[in-house]
């Protein structure tokens, strides 16, 4: 087995060599989007775009863990919280431990702490098989939230931390929604670039081997625990980046923002979008985070008003049905409320989609090419290995 260092070196080499050709279209797109399109949307839209970007970033982080290395992490929110709390505890005047540190000093600290916690959590659990990891991470996500809730001397508990120092670029301070959107966009692109480079590297192939069959991977000389730990730490670091950007954006860091729901959201994005695939993650984020927000917009309500006739048509049908049966169905709500009503049921839809996607399209709606092949033609070895598996 060639050394890890050499493989990391290779990633680096290729990264530097490839930047111009690979990044050029993305850079152009970024500039075009920030200059031309950004000003066409108001704050409501920008807030939605920010959230989509944030969740896409988190999704890419979790994708490394779940999609690439095949480790089911149900406590991803813990790393998100670590990032947010690092920035808030050391960078907010209301914090009892304000360190008066610049935001840009806190970001690497947040990333480091995120990765460190990932390693510390992964060390004991990763030698075990995946199922235990799922439940331990689930418990750990809750522990972090309960700690944040009760360690009043650090986190101010549910009163939360606010007035967090904003990122200062020297020539401007990032404080409005638009600027934060550009920031998350840059972060997302950076994470995209780095994770996709790692995936194509030796490390990425090792993850893939572990994901497909851990025993075979170990037999081939891959130190599975070590690589799993790297995947876990990478994902954790990305989660912390998301948290570090989220904290100054929302300007209120409190335990209630770090519930299991966040972990489920991110996991759903990765699963439904397509495991192991960055494009799928972005699409998943647009569908699962963007659409429920969009449904609540004024524009949606205005648009839906065009369908008032549908209500006029269907209500008599409902009335007729009610007179025939004992069911007393309510009238359809006003068309402008349809979007909002639908948004209320988003988690019911998330859950259902996760099952349907697993059963009908286990590779996600937008699968990665590699995984698609595997799922359609599972290698013999895997079939045999999965005999004992649910």
């Amino acid at each position: 087995m060639r050394s890890l260092r050499a493989s990391w070196g290779r990633v680096q080499e290729q990264t530097w060599e490839r930047i111009p050709s690979r990044l050029r279209p993305i850079v152009w797109f970024l500039i075009a989007f920030s200059v031309v399109f950004i000003n066409r949307f108001d704050d409501t839209w920008m807030r939605m775009f920010f959230l989509v970007g944030l969740y896409a970033t988190l999704g890419m982080g979790l994708n490394v863990v779940v999609g690439m290395a095949g480790l089911l992490d149900l406590g991803f929110v813990a790393f998100f919280a670590t990032g947010a709390y690092t920035v808030a505890i050391f960078g907010s005047p209301v914090s009892p431990h304000d360190a008066h540190l610049n935001y840009w000093v806190l970001v690497p600290l947040a990333i480091g702490l995120g990765a460190l916690i990932g390693v510390l959590l992964g060390l004991p659990v990763l030698p075990l098989r995946g199922d235990y990891l799922a439940i331990v991470t689930l418990g750990f996500g809750e522990i972090i939230r309960i700690l944040a809730l009760n360690m009043n001397d650090y986190t101010r508990g549910s009163s939360g931390l606010f007035e967090i120092r904003k990122p200062d670029l020297g020539f401007m301070v990032i404080e409005d929604v638009r600027a934060f959107y550009v920031m998350i966009l840059v972060a997302a692109l950076a994470v995209w670039f780095v994770t996709s480079r790692i995936r194509d590297s030796r490390v990425g192939r090792a993850w893939e081997a572990i994901r497909e069959d851990e025993d075979v991977a170990a037999a081939m000389g891959i130190n599975t625990t070590r690589y799993k730990l790297m995947a876990f730490a990478t994902g954790a670091a990305v989660g912390a980046i998301g948290g570090a950007i989220y904290a100054p954006f929302i300007d209120f860091v409190a335990p209630q923002s770090f519930s299991l729901q966040v972990s489920i959201n991110v996991l759903a994005i990765v699963i439904i979008g397509g495991m192991g695939n960055t494009t799928g993650v972005i699409a998943g984020s647009l569908i699962l985070i963007g659409v429920p927000e969009l449904l609540q917009f004024q524009e949606t309500a205005d648009f839906l008003q065009k369908f008032a006739w549908l209500r006029d048509v269907l209500n008599p049908v409902i009335h007729g049905f009610n007179t025939v049966t004992f069911l007393n169905l309510p009238d359809l709500p006003q068309p402008e409320d349809w979007g909002k009503k639908l948004a209320l049921y988003r988690f019911v839809v998330f859950g259902l989609l996760m099952v349907i996607v697993m059963v009908l399209r286990p590779m996600g709606i937008f699968p990665s090419k590699r995984r698609e092949l595997e799922f359609e033609n599972p290698p013999e070895a895997e079939l045999a290995a999965s005999q004992g598996v649910g």
Partner: protein
């Protein structure tokens, strides 16, 4: 092997980062004591505050002929706090029922703030965009804190019926309190003070055991109660026991209560948890007649229907009075009696409507509203409302506080005079 060395380096890097974190923590420990005075304690609205909101000069908005005047409502319309949020939204909207100003109807635009810090600003953005002239809400402290700046930037005055966290009206910014924010609920400290007085004076309790919801509201209220109770000669026995929303198993806390032998149990939280708590407390024969005192989050009809017999004899504090206009409110909103913060929400909307009537100018069918004058009219509010007399102090808090007490008798809340 090279792998090992790389991993070692990886680990060392992380250790260095961790060390950095530890150093940062240690450094910050030194000056934490001197920092705490930086926030809070502002004296009231400042000229700079008005300038920041763009309300240092007239700011006219025009409502076209035949168009409605839009008033925003930011409340929890879904999620866990919906049973609190929906009646608040309905009560506020009821205040505008049938009201016209110079021939223009009122239109209430509802947005769901989910009672969360994320939901608050999102709802605020949507309301501002919808072209509202003023708003009722947000209803929760976290959501309010996160949206103060958005309303302020737009120069839109908003009145919260229920955000009670102390620091909302004393933000740490040089411009002082947000001039666009007012609120009508009685603050936690006033409620806790009255509860402590009542516990010692009427219940004759000397030793209290404290149970609290670990959220912003429960933590603050229970802390304030402990301070007032001790200051007035009472003792807190046992460690105050915290619980999280949705907890149903209170048996362990109850064993602690039994061991501490208090004269009363004080609970700061919501009815959803008070219901199983009381049921489990009263299931224990020894604690059947131990006096129980709760606050505004617990006094809800749901407690009576859920806990039934177990709720008997419980004491509950309710800030605010049933004001002279409560009958008007009840005529428009049939569930008025059970809507916690409903009268406050009705009053918020009434304050806005009254102010609109004063400042809206008919301009040949069109209506001109000066947001600065509207803000001023709201600030000078002096009315009798459904929740008692309302005037605002000099940073947007309600001046004067009345707290009433109730006891559950035969499944009903009976006011104790």
């Amino acid at each position: 092997m090279g792998t090992k060395r790389t991993l070692l380096r990886f680990g060392l890097g992380l250790a260095a980062l961790a060390g950095l974190a530890a150093i940062a923590t240690a450094c910050s420990g030194d000056d934490s004591s001197s920092k705490s005075t930086a926030t809070g304690g502002s004296a009231g609205f400042t000229a700079a505050g008005y300038k920041a909101a763009g309300l240092d000069q007239a700011k006219n908005v025009t409502v076209d002929a035949g168009a409605n005047i839009k008033i925003g409502i930011s409340s929890a319309l879904s999620g866990d706090v919906k049973s609190l949020g929906l009646p608040i939204a309905d009560s506020a909207a009821a205040a505008g029922d049938g009201v016209t100003i110079a021939g223009h109807k009122l239109e209430f635009v509802r947005e769901d703030d989910l009672c969360t810090p994320e939901g608050g600003p999102a709802a605020a953005d949507r309301l501002v965009k919808a072209g509202i002239v003023a708003a009722v809400g947000p209803i929760c402290s976290g959501g309010t804190r996160a949206s103060l700046a958005i309303y302020d930037k737009a120069g839109i005055t908003h009145i919260s019926p229920s955000a009670t966290a102390g620091d909302l009206t004393t933000p740490a910014r040089p411009e002082g309190p947000y001039v666009t924010f007012f609120r009508v609920p009685v603050l936690n400290s006033d409620e806790a003070n009255a509860q402590a007085k009542f516990s010692i004076g009427t219940i004759k309790a000397k030793k209290a055991f404290v149970v609290f919801d670990t959220d912003d509201y429960g933590k603050d209220l229970s802390q304030q109660f402990q301070n007032f109770f001790k200051a007035q000669g009472g003792t807190i026995v046992g460690s105050p026991a915290g619980y999280e929303k949705k907890q149903t198993d209170f048996k362990s806390i109850i064993a602690n209560i039994k061991a501490a032998k208090p004269d009363m149990v004080y609970m700061a939280g919501f009815y959803a948890e008070a219901t199983p708590f009381l049921q489990q407390l009263r299931a224990d024969a020894d604690l059947k007649s131990l006096p129980f005192m709760g606050g505004d989050g617990i006094k809800n009809d749901e407690l009576l229907t859920g806990a039934k017999d177990a709720a008997e004899n419980a004491y509950l504090a309710l800030p605010g009075t049933t004001g002279p206009k409560f009958a008007d409110y009840k005529a428009k909103y049939k569930d008025a009696d059970s809507a916690t913060f409903g009268p406050e929400a009705w009053d918020c909307a009434t304050i806005i409507i009254d102010a609109l009537k004063k400042v809206a100018k008919d301009n040949g069918g069109k209506l001109t509203i000066d947001l600065k004058a509207l803000n001023e009219a709201i600030k000078n509010t002096d009315i009798d409302g459904a929740s008692g007399h309302i005037k605002f102090g000099n940073n947007g808090d309600r001046a004067g506080a009345i707290v009433r007490f109730f006891q559950v008798k035969s499944g009903k809340y009976v006011e104790i005079k």
